[in-house]
Symmetry: C2
Subunit: 360 residues, 2 copies
């Protein structure tokens, strides 16, 4: 069990990692000298651990209002945020109060946004219960909700005071949820290098044996904490975390949203980014062949099923417009040596076709 | 014409004050090296100056999307914020884009909140068109919307890059709007002292001659800029700006919201705060008699019409709970010498009764 403090953009918070770390929640809230009254928002899929935690908080003398909501990307909107405000007001949560989010990344993104804006911002904490949330979404202070027009269009930067990454939540995770996080772990393995990359190469599917997952989670969390602290505004190294995401996001946005898991989209996106790295930077092709083999072992897709190459390109261009410049692709010079570079659209098109995207 | 930069909480912005300063808007946006594409949100009551400004922006080569909305406290909710998001997306406003708010304080509070949260925050500017917005609401970076449960319950701190305080907007302001800002100017006169206090004492109602108002506006803006820069988180001197607001807010919230102008409520609140200062701190009573005379000259209320003393006390107590401690009253030791102090509830009750609040 270990912890690390993050200080960015005038805010600070701590990440705690290890089995059983959830038990420290009450103690941390009390040590923060906040108001006794707080709100706990629980993802319906969080399991019985959430009830145990609430009982712990009450036993420690805290006054807890509980709000149970469905998780998932479809819920990540103003409706959920508004429900959090209502519960906080009804529960008497004040400026010195606190809010906890127990659930996956969609839930904590929305609850974090509510915490960022309720009374112009109250202290909040996250207990991520899915692999994806533990290794990625819960760390770094980016909160957001979706609009009908697109994902994460509304949000705020609001660092959680506490992120408690406890692998105990993962015990009952279904294979689809493991796959959803696994793409991010492969990505992190490529960015961090050995020994993590070796662990990733050799890991059996976690639903067969999740023992190995814990070391991977710890390494991935430590890496994200380091990167976020170094580059909170995503002007440098934090952008490398987008390895595999340019194609992955486009695939998700192309109408597959909800049909393909985020980690699955990132997995295929990695194949594309590595292929472009080979063509442009002479990156050796054995890494891509490795990733392909790992994805197959985890029963994850290796092709852009049901996607139109031209539509994917259009979606990427829309992203480009938002940054008022060229798409900055994350490519690899070597293992653990990412770089940012532009890629000619015809080369992108060629690689999308190689990955199985259709012409019409 | 003068300007001052504010740097607080990792953000910065400039306040520009003077007749005709509006004309600099296009130049400032272009100098900021942002994207060409931006959104201008215009309060329906803003007058023809808004159209001239939009024409200026277009002439300068900017690509402007215009959204016209009704102003006023009733509009200050998620509906308006959502309309701003939709217009920004439809207009293609990106992370390097910008948003301008032209209107009163309610409009700029809501548009500022939209700017704080759209794409996790874009640059924005305010052109306050009412006296209240010019001397108070537009400065300091507090943005907010109301919920059905109360005022300003949701918001963010997001400093406008540009605040352009141009008295030219005030030319056609109706008496009710002058009164709404005037309470804040009396308050600032008491906090700043001479010579401003002398100007406040002698000012004829601005709808008879608004010439004198300009010096008052400049002094009030300069004072608020100084205080906000010194104490952005309202942990010290910024709290003094609440002089007169404890009773004033309670009166507004007691069902008079929309029936009494904010400045009118602050005016009567000042009478109460000065009376408490006399009773507890020996503050001389001629200031209160002065304020009473000024309010009468401006046809502003001097009594808590239609308010129940017990209900006002309850509302204040609710505020107290939110701060997890006692109400911190702003009282006066002497002209320009405010202080924070608790006040016994029975003394508050007595003063509310003196101000005409009823017993049942």
């Amino acid at each position: 069990m270990w912890s690390e403090q993050i200080d960015i953009m005038g805010q600070w918070g701590c990440v705690y990692v290890g089995e059983g770390v959830t038990k420290q929640t009450a103690e941390l809230i009390i040590a923060a000298a906040l108001d006794r009254v707080g709100l706990v928002v629980i993802d319906n899929g969080a399991g019985p651990g959430a009830d145990r935690l609430v009982a712990d908080l009450v036993k420690a003398g805290l006054e807890v209002r509980v709000l149970r909501v469905p998780g998932g990307e479809q819920q990540k909107g103003w409706g959920l945020v508004s429900a959090v405000y209502d519960a906080a007001i009804a529960g008497g949560v004040g400026r010195d109060g606190w809010i906890l989010a127990i659930g996956g990344g969609a839930l904590s993104d929305a609850v974090g946004f509510a915490a960022a804006t309720y009374l112009r911002g109250v202290v909040w904490g996250v207990l991520p219960t899915t692999l994806l949330a533990q290794v990625d979404a819960s760390i770094g202070g980016k909160t957001a909700i979706d609009l009908p027009q697109g994902k994460n269009l509304v949000g705020a930067f609001h660092l959680p005071r506490w992120v408690l990454v406890d692998p105990d939540w993962l015990g009952s995770l279904p294979p689809s949820q493991w796959r959803s996080g696994w793409g991010e772990l492969i990505k992190t393995g490529l960015l961090v290098g050995k020994p993590m990359w070796t662990w990733v190469q050799n890991a059996p599917p976690a639903w067969e044996s999740s023992a190995g997952a814990i070391a991977l989670i710890e390494t991935a969390v430590a890496h994200k904490v380091k990167v976020v602290a170094e580059d909170p505004r995503e002007q440098g190294v934090r952008a490398y975390l987008n390895l595999g995401h340019t194609i992955g996001h486009a695939w998700e946005a192309s109408g597959q949203l909800g049909q393909v898991q985020h980690g699955e989209a990132v997995g295929v996106g990695l194949l594309g980014a590595l292929r472009l790295s080979e063509l442009l930077l002479g990156f050796p092709d054995d890494y891509r062949l490795n990733v392909h083999e790992i994805l197959q072992r985890w029963s994850m897709p290796t092709e852009l099923r049901g996607a139109l190459a031209s539509r994917l390109l259009t979606i990427m261009t829309r992203d480009k417009k938002k940054k008022a410049g060229q798409i900055r692709w994350v490519l690899m010079n070597d293992l653990a040596q990412p770089t940012l570079a532009p890629v000619p659209p015809d080369l992108v098109y060629q690689v999308l076709r190689e990955l199985g995207a259709s012409t019409d």
